[in-house]
Symmetry: C2
Subunit: 328 residues, 2 copies
């Protein structure tokens, strides 16, 4: 029968430049908006005994001719054992026949496609002259978001706040090197979001870290961290002033940043401006004025994983990379 390509994290890395991931995620959002995507409900397994959780996301995209399944975990005690705090595996199957085509590490891919999502949103929601980014959080995703934005905007300055200052200092040193621009660790969230064009929140927070009164007009906010019930990074009052764009309304109202403003009655469902895909296909508009506040609520969708995995798969085939195994 057919061969499956197995791709390690290193191989995935070499087949998924951020610029390609951004294009792929934009295509993914468009396919979703056009109804050419079928996504199954996300399945969640809680492994309380080991402080872990596993999510299984699956779906298919007609435009790519692929069925994709991602099994992703978060295990909070893993780092104590020197292991990653989460892993992911992605399986791609041929939509026409269901034969397995590729199995790859999805850990790095998930980080990249989530970064790419922020850049896609900013490309239609942030001011065109955006040069300064304020980041809350100094982990992998705080890095990916800024690396992705730097593909879209000629960034001049990044400010970063993290609850542990050692982490923001490490972040600053590393990102200064990678981007060749000023990256400044700051001592308060307020400083991080002051006098910037784009704000990124990328933490596991369960409470508001960024207050409404700190947000001037004209800013774009990428709200990345909230992707589960209870998670929160923003003062819900911000939602009342912002043009709100979501990746998937169905998901965001339950697990996204907007869950809190909706629950508190600060906004109604009809106050959500659009899904990002509708803007990308021209069914709705992005930023319209220099002064409006825009907000993108990202929760992550299997269609992004399938799109990014497709980039990896196509390039790996072309470059003859990965291990080829006859599975059945």
């Amino acid at each position: 029968m057919s061969e499956v390509i197995i791709l390690s994290q290193e191989e995935v890395k070499s087949c998924l430049p951020m610029s390609e991931a951004i294009k792929a995620v934009a295509e993914a959002y468009k396919a979703f908006a056009k109804g050419r995507v079928e996504l199954a409900p996300v399945v969640h397994l809680s492994v309380e005994k080991y402080r872990g959780e596993v999510d299984v996301k699956s779906g298919y995209v007609e435009d790519f001719g692929l069925i994709g399944t991602k099994i992703a975990s978060g295990y909070y005690d893993n780092p104590k054992m020197g292991l990653p705090s989460g892993v992911a595996v992605i399986i791609l199957m041929d939509l026409k026949t269901s034969l397995p085509l590729a199995i790859m590490d999805g850990t790095y891919l998930t980080a990249v496609r989530t970064g790419a999502a922020g850049a896609v949103a900013a490309s239609v929601l942030a001011r065109k002259d955006s040069r300064r980014v304020g980041v809350i959080g100094a982990g992998t995703q705080a890095r990916m978001q800024v690396l992705a934005l730097s593909e879209i905007f000629p960034l001049k300055q990044v400010k970063v706040y993290n609850i542990h200052s050692a982490s923001s200092e490490k972040y600053a040193a590393e990102m200064r090197e990678r981007l060749g621009i000023e990256v400044e660790p700051v001592n308060t969230p307020k400083e991080a979001v002051s006098e910037v064009d784009i704000i990124v929140t990328a933490t596991p927070s369960n409470k508001a870290l960024v207050m409404d009164e700190w947000i001037p007009n004209g800013v774009h906010i990428n709200a990345i961290g909230a992707d589960a019930p209870g998670k929160q990074e923003l003062d819900p009052k911000i939602m009342k002033r912002a043009k709100i764009v979501v990746d998937s309304f169905k998901q965001c109202r339950v697990i996204g940043e907007i869950q809190h403003a909706l629950a508190q009655g600060l906004i109604k469902e009809e106050d959500v401006h659009a899904e990002i895909g509708d803007i990308l296909i021209g069914k709705n508009v992005g930023r319209e004025t220099e002064t409006e506040i825009t907000l993108f609520d990202s929760t992550g969708m299997a269609v992004q994983d399938i799109a990014a995995a497709n980039v990896v798969y196509q390039l790996a085939k072309k470059k003859n990379m990965g291990s080829r195994i006859k599975l059945l």
Copy 2:
């Protein structure tokens, strides 16, 4: 990081003797009955354009220390292209850390574990002196069921009915060879189930194939085919006379053979005698008299897949089989 073992169908075959699969499935049912298993809802994707469907089953078993996910498809036009009508891939992860341990073909494994399920059920539900089996259906599962039963009972005779007589003749020739006993193709379902001790139904039927008036006292029935809404193989009146045992009550009432008798009000939920695991752990009884009719309704559970995959994984490790790949 860690290595993942990739196992092809051939390798899975050589690591999963039926006798071991039977033991593993019994352990799986017991673990389920003891509440040491967490199963996520089964996710279903329908690919209407290509007459296909994909199910994703996931869960974990504390007793085995494993998280398992199975992606399984049914593509009804595949055989026309010389491809299998369904494929499956299984991913095992370490319950303690979520690190992936093994990725294997699940197509053959699914067939074996389903066969094993029938044998486990018959071991506590069929009469001890059972020697004759009547089979409706002549596909892979009709083979697996009888091969599994032959591990538990010294079978003397098999009768097989299939809607296409060429298939039942092929079945008979092949199974005669494999089992070294009389295997007779018959022309009607009634002949197949007459004067036998165990009846097996293993077809994709949507209507009753076996009538109530054909079933004498003392018989055990393994109802294997029905595993989706609308699927049916038995006259629902049989349920009124039978001691009904299910793999998972939650599943069977919706997708199992009992769905029809329940919907028609022929039986009530409380008429279902037990889940098979409860009998295996001694919480409930199996067959009690020589004359009662027993029925096992099998829909298939992720815990069976995890148990069977664990057998394969452990043996593959021991024998140093499979391809080893550093995934992350």
